[in-house]
Amino acid sequence: MGKLAAWIDERTAWRTGARSWIDHPVIGGAPWASALCTSVVACFGVLALTGVLLMTAYAPSPQSAWASVFYVEYVLSRGWIIRGLHYWAAQSLFVLAALHIAHGAIASSYRKPREVAWWLTLAVLGLAVAEGITGGLLPWDQRGWWARVVEGNIVGLAPGLGGWLQAMLLGGSELGALGLTRMHALHVAVLPLLFAVLLLARRSIVKRHGWTAGGTEVPHGRELARSTVVAAVVVVALFALTGWAHGAPLESPADPLSDYPARPEWFLMPLYELRKVFSHGPAAEFMGTSLVPAAVAGYFALLPWVDRAGRPRALTVFAPLFAVAIGAAALAGVAWNKDAHDRQYLKSRADADRVAAAAVQLAMQGVAPAGALDMVRNDPELRGRSLFVAHCASCHVLGDLGDPKKATASKLDHWGTTEWIAAMIHDPDAPEFFGLGPYNTKMPSVDVRPKDKPAGEPWTPMVKSDAEKAAVAAFLASQGDEPGDPPRATDAATLAQGEKIVSDRCTTCHLYKGDGDLESSGIAPELAHYGSIAWTRSQVANPSTDQTYRDQALDPAMKKHMPRFDKDLSAADVDIVARWTRAHGRGQTLP
């Protein structure tokens, strides 16, 4: 080993190089500044290493980005650790760079001859923000996508070149495939290269002048030992954060059609709130979101000249520094507090989390080449729910969907089950059955004497006992899911009794297998396969086909009647919403 090292040394003089690197004199002193600097560099190192590792599994296209990040986070061995370290190093880099600047301002690190090092330190924070913004898009999830859309539009507000700049960043007028590849190129090549050059340049200036005035020369080796300890502490802390959060967050795949309550990254929350102060017109908004932060950065960049002998530092340095720090914290606090008490926001947030969890479950089976959004959009369970919300929940209630106060149709929990039918035929006009809709008072109870029947007039209930009522309910509820399917229940005697009652006594008004309705009222529905998937599908597509209800079902005189959906939903969507509604009425989910 020694021989090999000597052989290489003879040809490269690496020993001399290493020795001069360790022994070269640096200006010591300002331990906090150098510890903060080392922490920033350590984070950058972790980001570079984990970044390259992530690149071995990441595929930047709208179809594959989310799926590949999901794969890293949930499937690849130790993937969550690598991604978690990358994510937490990025967050920490931002905090540490800000602290570094604050310390520099307090310790007068900007004074001659350190102005350039001071500007480079400010630029570190700027690059950290740029890396955070570009990196946040790469998972192509809801949070990153929507935040970039909004930020792109804010760039577009800039007078003159705004629109062009926005199109340059997004790769066109919409955030699509080229926006992702551009952000990716910036994130993994352009910005890190700038970052590295900047750190090296800063290093060589500090080697020459030290962090603050008054330091004495020490050999680099002494500083190096301390730096290594600091870096190790940073790495351990990043592992702790990763373990605590178990990786990094991943929301559901970006969906441009969703009602997502977009919020920026946490370090941009102060600007998010500040924007509201400047909300009177696009020019003002551009000021709040771009010129104010630019002015703050400019002020700190000019500190070497602002802080002059004779001017009190309390006014030139400390007051602005604390104003920015406290102002930013207060603005972010106001924004978070408002969201925490905003019911509509919390509801959309909960919806987003629900879809995110479902997307991860779905992706466990693998994502088709059409991509993760396609997977989420066409999953029967998720699609059924969103179809129900969009088309059914304005009148019906099912579980936590639909507003009971605005409902004008039956509640669909347990709809079509034995219990539901037994309760419904006893009291059809109850609000959870037909009481709120056009069929109110149209169906008599099977066992309660009608109120409008004059006393003394003879009246026979349609079922003579609770057993008969139970038989009717059991028979109706246990018919097959599709025509021709065998009944689901096995008690043949009860089913036969129920069917006999239905075909003998209900067909005065109803149809059963196409026969009945002796009074030609044209209102009561077909009872064969009532509540089955086939019946539901037919009802959703068109309630007036005689398969369920009849021509009167769409009569304008029937106020608030159920509309037909076969003209605005595809047959596949009608099938999904029918299956979903029926499954969820029974407390099940779709496979």
Partner: protein, 173 residues
């Protein structure tokens, strides 16, 4: 050694180095700049007429959010018949009003208001009345109305995107 010729030679070397650098870098820079700028050069394209739902599926006075299904091209990807946008439709007799769901402020999706009869943007709290007029919040203009017509009982909408954040409605390509 005499001074003159050495200075001359240095000057000549400088000229050669600078010329070489400019020619080499320039030859690379021109196509590189064109390459980077190209995707940003989107013209002001017109709208696309897209069939949506049956007129009878819309209830008078109740806005309905409808997805627009058509072919979607994104750089090298062509997706056949996907949901590429959405509109709010409001029936008024035999005519239909349509608004883009994209908030004219900064581009989030506008939802029905949870508290009133109109529309609301969940990102920066812009609110609009049921006719799409701006009520409060930072939006610089009303919701973007889209042209509609009814063909054989089906509502057809001219789908179009507009620049966000400006008081006037500027179509985007």
């Amino acid at each position: 050694m005499p001074e003159g010729p050495k200075t001359d030679r240095r000057g000549a070397l400088q000229v050669i180095a600078v010329t070489g650098g400019v020619v080499g870098a320039g030859a690379l820079a021109l196509p590189a700049a064109r390459f980077v700028v190209a995707p940003a050069a989107g013209g002001a394209g017109g709208g696309r007429w897209i069939k949506t739902v049956a007129l009878e599926a819309l209830k008078e006075g109740e806005p309905k959010r409808v997805a627009l299904v058509a072919d979607h091209k994104d750089a090298w990807t062509l997706e056949k018949q996907v949901e590429l946008g959405a509109v709010w439709l409001l029936r008024e007799g035999d005519a239909v009003k349509a608004w883009s769901v994209v908030c004219p402020h900064l581009g989030c999706a506008v939802d029905r208001s949870g508290t009133g009869p109109g529309f609301y943007c969940p990102c920066h709290d812009s609110s609009f009345d049921p006719a799409g007029r701006r009520l409060s919040g930072p939006s610089p203009r009303d919701l973007d109305a889209l042209a509609t017509r009814v063909e054989d009982g089906v509502v057809v909408v001219e789908f179009q995107r507009f620049r966000q954040g400006t008081p006037d409605k500027t179509p985007m390509g």
